[in-house]
Amino acid sequence: MRRWRGRLGPTWAKASIPVYSIVLAFAVAAVVVIVSSAFTATGFDPLLPFAAYARLLAGSFGSDNAVYNTLVAAAPLMFGGLAVGIGLKAGLFNIGVAGQFLVGAFAAAVTGAALATAPTIVGMPLAMLAGALAGAAYGFIPGYLKARTGAHEVVTTIMLNNAAALLLTWAVNDLVRAPGFSFPRTAEIGHSALPILAGRNLHLGIVFAVAAVFVIRWILDRTTLGFEIRTVGANPNAARYAGMRPIFITALTMTISGLLAGLAGAIQMLGVIGFYAPGITASVGFDSIAVALLGRSDPIGILFAALLFGAFRAGAPLMQIETSVPIEVIDIIQALVILFLAADLIVRRVFRVRAPKVEITEMATVTGSWGAGTPPPGTAG
């Protein structure tokens, strides 16, 4: 580790805490697995975590198909991670990715089904566009409310998540239910599906996702809009004095965030699920938050974090089947990663990392807008 530090310098300075956090999270989760093994039929097994993690690795990178599964799982997480990440850059915490994901998936499913017989080159882009626009509209609502009335996006987006699930269930039941199926669902998407690139299931969505990473990176680093988003996030008052419009930027950022989440839903719909039915799960929602926090809201960081969590999701079923360690251990690891990132003091103590000279502040700014609207001390400038 020490020798890398010289060569990778700035990159390692940014990545060291996330990497150490992952290591520590796996270690603590291993303890949980060992302790809990005592309460199962197979009995206490101190080697269980090693077996479980080995199966997790095999399920995510052990074969061509495993790698494809990892990439397929990572693609929506890249979009979702970007959605949360761009919000964090502007000081907004979008917990509404789950709802925007569902709305985007639904719009893509309906549009895709309507264009099922059209050529892929027509149907697929239009279905993607529908998903993106639906997600954007659903992200605009909390963004507008936050900007105009101050209603905090954490509460409104969660409410809209629940409302989306219920209203879409109604829509599938009463509006767009496809005939000939025993349960309410939308019709086949036919040619609108994303083309398969390799293996059974590696679809074009991963290409879109990686492209989105670089587009968002470009927007954030190289455009006026990106500069305004970052400035509003760092200090809304300074942004206002500099002639920017924090209200407009807030609403716009939530809309972009919703658009990205809608695209996550669209590629999952057109590449994996194929039809909208009530109860399609949107675990992408919470996973995206973990991805964005682990990636430090940096698009490249999000790319790697999404690959990691995609690998977890791809490998976990094999782990559960072969070692009977429940799949939920992934959620525990995710929570631990966030814990160690939020309280990086623990990581610094364990691994003896010195505090950086320039504090990386994204982690410390989202609560500011909850109360009186004053940013917490230390984040100005």
């Binding site: 915490f93 954490v154 509460v155 409302a163 001390p377």
Partner: protein
């Protein structure tokens, strides 16, 4: 449509409301109980300056460990003792998680919303993990539910007063404790030394520090007590209301509780009213299916799909939040970690 159609519909709606009142009122409090307890947790924390969006997760953890206690102990100890211990364990779980939240937000000064998010994900993971590992394979149920107190029929059937009495008294012990806890908190927050200190720490921690109030200790105490109450909300879900545990069964209640806090302008009584309002919206969504209205109103209400009624509480929350929040002022230091001078 004649000119009197709208007034007549409104009149029919009022008549309908009175007709379903005896069915509506008793379920309002039971639906509002977890929301009101969660909101108390929010009020106590935020009044001292600590935002907690992990109420959802704390409720879920407490619900699970309370249920697990009943599940393990109801054979050796009997149902009554197992349920009582379950409630104790649930409250203890809440308080312990409160300690963790307080340590993260007060001592480590981690971002409070991210700490709360961690709590929610952790709760979903830990409860889902242990549920799959311990409860599902056993194939047996838990300790059942606490028997609710039953109001004598002579009282419950009184006109007008009966349903209202039933609303508050035809309940289990946790639901009935809500009103007591709310009144105690209201009194404590605005009429005692502890409450004055809490508010001082939440409004201006530096001033509070200067006059000798231990800001850290006060915040720790409030968050731990509040989270213990959120634990009681979890106990209500598994031990008094349903008698079973499902993954993610809190289903957004912790977040509606946060909205109730804002609606109630950071007071225990106000947030209780907020919880009752959301409870009413949910109860109404249930009642319209069980006892549909008749006449023109019935035809109109049947054109509105069931799922819209179910989504109503969530949509109302958003609308109320947007309408109320601009005109209410949170505690000035809400969400801001306190750093002692020279240690920042």
């Amino acid at each position: 449509m004649d000119i009197l159609a709208l007034p007549r519909l409104i009149w029919e709606f009022v008549v309908y409301l009175f007709a379903v009142m005896p069915d509506l009122l008793p379920i309002i409090l039971s639906l509002a109980t977890p929301l009101a307890l969660g909101a108390l947790c929010g009020v106590l924390g935020e009044r001292s300056g600590v935002v907690n969006i992990g109420i959802e997760g704390i409720m879920l953890m407490a619900a699970f460990f309370g249920y697990l206690t009943g599940f393990v102990l109801h054979e050796p100890l009997g149902t009554g003792a197992a349920l009582a211990l379950g409630i104790v364990v649930a409250v203890g779980t809440g308080a312990l998680l409160g300690l963790l939240h307080a340590w993260l937000t007060v001592t480590v000064r981690a971002d409070q919303i991210i700490a709360g998010t961690m709590m929610n994900i952790a709760a979903f993971g830990v409860t889902g993990y242990l549920n799959r590992l311990i409860i599902t394979p056993s194939g047996r149920g838990g300790a059942g539910v606490i028997t609710p107190f039953h109001l004598p029929d002579q009282l419950a059937t009184l006109p007008f007063v009966g349903p209202i009495l039933a609303m508050f008294l035809d309940q289990g012990p946790i639901a009935m404790s809500v009103i007591v806890l709310v009144l105690i908190s209201q009194f404590a927050l605005f009429r005692t030394r502890w409450g004055l200190r809490t508010r001082a720490v939440g409004e201006h921690p530096k001033a509070a520090d200067t006059v000798g109030i231990d800001v850290f200790r006060q915040r720790y105490m409030n968050v731990i007590i509040g989270c213990g109450i959120a634990g009681l909300a979890g106990a209500y879900l598994t031990l008094e209301s349903t008698g079973s545990f499902q993954n993610g069964m809190t289903n957004g209640r912790g977040f509606i509780a946060l909205a109730a806090v804002i609606f109630g302008r950071w007071t225990p009584l106000g947030s209780f009213l907020g919880a009752l309002l959301f409870g009413t919206a949910t109860a109404f969504g249930i009642i319209v299916n069980v006892r549909p209205a008749e006449g023109d109103l019935g035809t109109l209400m049947k054109t509105i799909p069931t799922f819209w009624y179910a989504a109503l509480p969530y949509l109302i929350t958003v609308v109320i939040l947007a309408g109320v929040v601009g005109r209410s002022t949170p505690p000035a230091a809400d969400g801001i970690p306190y750093a002692k001078e020279g240690k920042g």
